[in-house]
Symmetry: C2
Subunit: 374 residues, 2 copies
């Protein structure tokens, strides 16, 4: 019998270095998840993502309820077996994707009715159905079903949206069927309004869930506003529970959020950038399609030990992207995945040694190198 | 100092089991090449193709002269380093692709002028330039520059096309700069006209090249005509030199051609099919997009030991193709590559044990299973 656990091993000011145990093993925090929206990490084999250091994957209720359906995944033995990911899996509740992808949405107290983005078929998502789907998928960490508040938003609208999400969180708690080693996370909302964020934190506190999502950030408010919001919200969350900043972000966002006490992150950036030609390096990002790389025998990042940097020159990657060859996205996604996972590993080490401040300063100084010198 | 060598270890009627040594190692024959047209095997990492058993890759003069250019590949250390393929490499001469892909072609005694398929830029390929490009690429096996005769074609046109290719082969021999462990193969032409094929074989004999391509087959003439042509041509080729049937083919084509004395094959089929959803199995091909696979927990082929079959159900592959996820082509290309390489391994074993006839009969019986039973 495995309990869902979060052990904190060391702290460095507000930052923490810990380990989460679920029904499917452990993952070290702060962590960055492998984005496996439709039960696949785009452009990289599960083994390769694990070799890069990913221990936790995130899949999506909205996408999977449509195709192949939660019932089919359950009949095939659950998501871990279906997608060859024996490790822990978070499932997003579908709230964000219903808002951003589907058509003809109608939101009511009960939930959301909508038409699917890919074929226009009609569906309904409610807090109860989202819990049921995530259960069928055999998720380790289930996210509460919430309304994703748009940005910018007037305060009264942000308030009513957040309060709807808090009522839905209560229904999620009632509908969630706890199994060994699984968890339900509530999601803090309230846009950039501090009093709403604190009201949301208090509402979640009352539900005593297993961890916290922090939602509705990195949606256009800017890094300063995001950091300020974290500085207000984090102290209002119980320190013994993991904090997951949803959909974030750029490497510099992550460094700053870890300094402000965040434990878990997910973002499409390393995989999506890998498909469009943007590579992450210790000197900042670069676009491999740029003509200046076409005869460059150097790897993407001379400091990087990943299989792509060990074998492919910038000239070769440039060639693959110019010719629209699949191997370009595969190799660049592999590198970007390593870059993010390596950043998390270094952040964990820095916290362990009480050196997060100096690590962060050195990382950011390198990461902001003049683009012409990358 | 490495010589280009072809050692024949065993024969079974007309079939042979051997080994070719080049500047970049050895490959066992009969063999199937990894198709790396633009210096990348579509949908599979070089390491994974090697793990499947591929020892020889084929790249293309036409594609690489356009992008990134042969001069750039040479400046970057040659094709082996550029594409991370330390093993042997064959380069096709560009003749076939000029005919099938480029625009505004003009063929003269001197060579071919044309405009590139991707940007309309003007280029010229001659036997001498093709040899120079393949040298710059650092090819182990250089193919003579030939005209690809269309099919069907009247005999007089087939004759003049073949004779032009033979004059070009003579110019290729003069222009080819032999380095240790490299080879120049001539290409037998003559469409389905036996007397032309024999005239071509005689012309190549006079040039005493290192091996034979057999070109202009699998272009619409049908398997019977192809096998009949092989039965006439092969006895006219010196047995101590390797025979390479270019662009072939389906598994049943390969089995029949090995029985008729062919040593080397290349075809886009396993990789191209891998991208379109066609999987090769011991019971024949199947289309994974078909709805009958959507709840099927079985692997593609229960007899297959490849990483895809060890981990992915048909239902999962179906889901990936339905959602147009990159991992679908990656997993199916991996399987198809294993299928082809495993077939070659079994053919080599069968020849070694003098059991090719019974192996071929059993393979074909299985491969022609009723599609509903696959």
């Amino acid at each position: 019998m495995t309990a869902f656990l979060f052990d904190i091993f060391s702290t460095d000011k507000t930052a923490r270095r810990g380990r989460v145990t679920t029904a499917h093993g452990v993952f070290e925090t702060p962590c960055f998840m492998a984005t496996a929206t439709a039960a696949t990490i785009k452009g990289i084999l599960p083994d390769a993502a694990r070799a890069a250091g990913a221990e936790l994957a995130i899949c999506n209720t909205y996408h999977l309820m449509l195709r192949p359906t939660a019932e089919r995944v359950a009949a095939l033995g659950g998501l871990h077996k279906f997608m060859d990911w024996p490790g822990s899996i978070v499932t997003d509740s579908g709230g964000f994707q219903v808002m951003s992808l589907s058509k003809l949405r109608k939101i009511s107290e009960k939930g959301v009715t909508f038409r699917a983005h890919h074929d226009g078929s009609a569906h309904e998502l409610t807090p109860e159905r989202s819990m049921q789907i995530q259960h069928l998928l055999d998720s380790d960490i289930t996210m509460a079903f919430d309304e994703c508040t748009p940005f910018p938003v007037p305060q009264d609208q942000a308030a009513s949206s957040m309060r709807l999400s808090m009522r839905w969180a209560e229904r999620c708690k009632k509908a969630f069927v706890k199994r060994d080693g699984t968890a339900l996370f509530g999601i803090n909302q309230g846009s950039v309004y501090v009093d709403l964020r604190l009201e949301s934190a208090q509402a979640l506190e009352a539900l005593d869930l297993d961890g916290y999502g922090i939602g509705g950030l990195a949606v256009g408010e800017g890094q300063d506003a995001m950091f300020r919001t974290l500085e207000e919200v984090v102290p209002a969350l119980k320190p013994e529970k993991p904090r997951y900043l949803m959909g974030v972000g750029r490497p510099d966002d992550i460094v700053g959020a870890v300094q402000r006490g965040v434990d878990m992150f997910d973002c499409v950036m390393p995989t999506r950038s890998g498909r469009t030609g943007q590579g992450f390096t210790s000197r900042g990002t670069l676009n491999i399609r740029n003509a200046r790389h076409q005869e460059d025998p150097r790897p993407l990042d001379e400091k990087c030990p990943c299989p792509t940097c060990a074998r492919a020159s910038r000239a070769y990657l440039h060639h693959l992207f110019r010719c629209e060859e699949m191997l370009g996205p595969i190799l660049l996604t592999t590198h970007n995945t390593h870059f993010y996972q390596n950043l998390m590993k270094e952040l964990r080490e820095a916290i362990k040694h009480g050196a997060l401040g100096s690590y962060a300063a050195a990382f950011l100084a390198g990461y902001q190198t003049d683009p012409a010198e990358r």
